[in-house]
Symmetry: C2
Subunit: 581 residues, 2 copies
């Protein structure tokens, strides 16, 4: 080893010891005849001291060292005169006898500090330098520790990690696949997996009964902020189970994770049905760190002459506790917020519950004080509270009010970092109707089973069929989702037919799975968690990118590698491929 210790290891017990350290020069400063150098490695920082009186030649060399140079220093551990309580090595320093430059460094294009001066794209281009910064480094160490804990837990309860293939077959149902031309099979393509879904089901058919995998997945989607073309999934499947078994098993995993990597003991994970989540929060991934759940007010507000409400499918509001003091300007700002094109609401109605038990409202010319009191009563609003109300088409108005609720939650400081409310959302609908293409799509995926008691509805009212499908939501972010699966060929065929796949298409794409169903397929179900997103949410971050060592930018490019890139003509020729103009 080129070093005897790391830059975090030495303390007062090592005084007088001869040591050799290696690392990067974080910074240096002169103080009289002394030169102090902060030497940094993955583990920490140790102060090196060069004394001009003791060895002026060495001191001169040390002065010539630049930031981010890689150096090896040998010297003696000494107690510091003025201690630094912020770092573990703050009690000591190294009186250096010899220093070797292992490698020089150009001046970095941005500062290697916790708060860097580099922009996103520049830091991606020099990702290897960005990775030196503590916040990014700590994220990757967190990710490593999380993966260790997940594997230990899953292994401990009998799950086998089984690797599934990356070069598979394209299945256009669902998101878009990345394709890989096959040189050995001209005109044919492999696809990269969007998830190991069919493989984990095959493993259940093979009898492996408890499978998991931390695995890369790929989706060639138009990228939105915080989507990556490749992402990592914790993929799990179990046999001989019902929904309750899966919820309990993975509640165990979530509790273990919070306990081990956050030191937080989660008592239990609440549950809400999809229908209630939509009704009470306007979202299938509600942030339940705070209340402000929705109250439907059609019965209270559709009996007067206010046509906006009268003509609406749904009138719905929520209470902002203690916000009666909001100024007209503040209230107008909320109206502007919901009228923004991203939200697209027509307007916002407020009712202020005054301390004197009167009510002030933007629609008070339509409603009596008694009307407003009755609304307040239904909303459980009291003196000092503010009621915000919107109306419109049910689906739309819920979504709009959901945005307003989240915005108010943020403004009121109710989305507290460090507080975590995991939540199971259950009883999802099996199918979702798409107006544009005039067909049903699978809400989760085409392998999700309808609830047995809804089987008959498949023919008559497919849109009403519920599934034993569930999402795990933490603080308003979907972290995972899964379902009990179809395990009979006939039901799978019916499902494909409801989704508009012809028998032939279904056979071409999923024939192997439906065949497999005929050879003794056990009842099974599973779940998959987004590993990148789980890392982010556990660190109160919105950005999965910060938890990926080498992420792509929003155009799906890697600015460091400059990938994707053109390839040479010989490679194209080998693949027998050309480009259409």
């Amino acid at each position: 080893m080129l070093r005897t210790h790391t830059c975090e290891e030495l303390n007062i017990s090592n005084v007088n010891q001869k040591v050799t350290l290696c690392g990067w020069l974080q910074k240096n400063r002169k103080l009289g005849g002394m030169l102090f150098v902060d030497l940094r490695d993955r583990y920490g920082i140790t102060q090196l001291v060069f004394n001009n009186e003791r060895n002026s030649e060495l001191c001169e060399i040390a002065e010539s060292l630049g930031r981010e140079w890689v150096i090896q220093a040998t010297g003696t551990v000494a107690e510091r005169y003025s201690k630094n309580k912020n770092i573990t090595t703050g009690d000591i320093e190294i009186i250096v006898d010899a220093v070797t430059v292992l490698n020089r460094s150009e001046i970095p294009p941005f500062t290697i500090e916790d708060e860097s001066d580099g922009g996103d794209e520049l830091r991606l281009k020099y990702r290897y330098l960005d990775l030196r910064r503590n916040p990014v480094k700590n994220n990757l160490i967190f990710r490593h520790n999380l993966s260790i804990e997940i594997r230990n837990y899953m292994n401990g309860i009998g799950f086998l990690e089984i690797e599934t293939p990356f070069l598979i077959k394209s299945t256009p149902e669902g998101a878009r696949d990345f394709l890989v031309p096959s040189r050995m099979n001209p005109c044919e393509f492999y696809a990269l997996p969007q998830s190991p879904q069919t493989f984990k089901q095959l493993l259940m058919i093979s009898g492996y009964d408890r499978y998991f995998q931390i695995v890369r997945c790929f989706r060639d989607e138009d990228l939105r902020a915080d989507r990556q073309p490749e992402f990592t999934q914790i993929d799990c499947e179990m046999s001989f189970v019902e929904q309750e078994d899966i919820l309990q098993t993975f509640e165990g995993l979530i509790k273990h994770i919070f306990h081990k990597v956050k030191g937080i003991d989660i008592e239990s994970i609440s549950r809400i049905t999809f229908e209630d989540a939509m009704r009470l929060y306007g979202s299938d991934k509600p942030d339940t760190r705070f209340g402000m759940s929705f109250v439907e007010l059609n019965d209270k507000l559709q009996h007067r002459a206010f046509s906006v409400f009268n003509n609406s499918e749904l009138v719905v509001g929520f209470v902002a506790k203690g916000c009666a003091h909001y100024s007209r300007k503040q209230l107008d700002a909320f109206t502007d917020f919901v009228k923004r094109p991203q939200i697209g609401a027509g307007g916002l109605v407020y009712i202020i519950c005054n301390e004197d038990s009167t009510f002030k409202s933007s629609v008070e010319k339509f409603y009596s004080q008694e009307d407003l009191a009755s609304v307040a009563e239904k909303c459980n609003a009291f003196a000092g509270d503010l009621i915000l109300i919107m109306s419109g088409e049910t689906k739309k108005v819920r979504k709009q009010l959901c945005e307003l609720r989240l915005e108010m939650g943020k403004q009121l400081g109710l989305c507290r970092a460090g507080e975590y409310k995991p939540l199971w959302v259950i009883d999802f609908p099996l199918l979702e109707w798409d107006d544009e293409t005039q067909r049903f799509y699978a809400k989760h995926h085409p392998f999700t089973a309808p609830k047995p008691e809804h089987l008959a509805l498949m023919d008559t009212r497919p849109g009403a069929v519920l599934a034993n499908a569930y999402d795990l939501v933490i603080n308003g972010t979907e972290i995972g989702g899964g379902s009990i699966r179809i395990y009979s060929k006939e039901l799978q065929q019916k499902m494909f037919s409801v989704l508009g796949l012809s028998t032939e298409e279904a056979h071409n794409q999923f024939g192997f799975l439906m065949n497999a169903f005929q050879y003794g397929c056990p009842p099974h179900g599973g779940i998959a968690f987004g590993f990148d997103r789980l890392c982010a949410i556990l660190n109160d971050s919105d950005s999965i990118r910060d938890f990926i060592a080498f992420p792509k930018n929003n155009s799906g490019r890697d600015p460091m590698l400059d990938a994707p890139a053109t390839i040479n003509p010989a490679q194209l020729k080998e693949l027998g491929i050309s480009f259409k103009n």
Copy 2:
């Protein structure tokens, strides 16, 4: 849960307990009025009993169940009359009260037994059924356990598992890349990584100092037996180290693995230089479970009139202990063996050391008994031994004799299953000359550093430069390889230029790495192990396929998925791709 216990859990202590089991019907047999059913799951087998007298209706149902049907059975644990000591549940059976068919099964296309009657291609097509067989299942469980042990060990000594990207840039130097057309960047391609080599080096530049990853890699090579287009690597890298540190660190890993998953304590791993390995075994991956090392005999056999030897660059042989009794027919068979086109030798010379201290040889008309005695003396051969000798061009004859040595080792039962001789092969040459293309290729890869003391030779005799590069070999199979890396831009440029890459090509392909070298790159090195092959060798298997859940066949196809496959025209159009005729 649909079951209370697995099919391996119950024993005599559970007698009289009411239980529910789920599993696959392995077989059933009638005995008088009794029907016995072997129920199988991932964990084991439990015997179910149906008594015609007790419940004839139930017995009738049970008789109708077929092989591989999935059933749920509820009943009472009872002590068996005739116990089966071969299985853990052999003391008990279940007197069944109720049985539910969870799913039926067609008759499987091959038997689900330890020795199946299915051919390779059929078993690949129905891989989900093949995976039910114990040998395959045990392999995958072994693989899971091995991965757990590797991760625990690496984590324990401070290595971080960091995921690197799969959608990267093509670097035609080395093996052929699989390419992925980018829809969002027309006419551009990603490549799938052949290994995370450059990323792990970048992580060293980022200061992570101990990295590992169990990771999928891809090579679009013409497949030979036991090669897979996708394979899994244990990829590792360390900073501030010299070769000795890496050898010791990973010797620790290998010892840990053998101890934990095989119960074998490896004392230490021997080392041999590449030069000695070639001289003594004719191979850079010698099987050292047995001796029979080569003895060079030019000095002993080039002084008489035998022109074949006189005209050969190298005359070389080995001793087969106690094989003097081999018949003429056996010896001829060896001659035939080395003359096969795959080996291509001209012939084989033998010297038999008779018990009476005389020698019999196929070339005795050219050599005196004293000549032959002198050969025997140099070879350390004694009465009762057989000496086999070949001659020719050094490189070729070593390879031919190596094949013969391995064949004899097998025939003599010296390649014992369950015996493991890990070996470090060190001091590899940096470069390898290719006669066909008239250029040097990197023996390991272009990032391997020359030994510092050989730096000057880079300009004058590149072929003579040795590298701090090393392979780990177990029983004649290369399990891993690595090296100390280049960490200066200038040396990396020189390396590329020796390999015939223009400055522009080098910049296009590896500019990001060479740039990174300029920002404080520490000395570093690493190693990568073939995970599939490690699994195979630890189970004395030649076939990595048996340790991969869903392998490809020798044409790179997955017969189960029928992949690769044609894609639909809309997908081609989105990619802007067409096929050349």
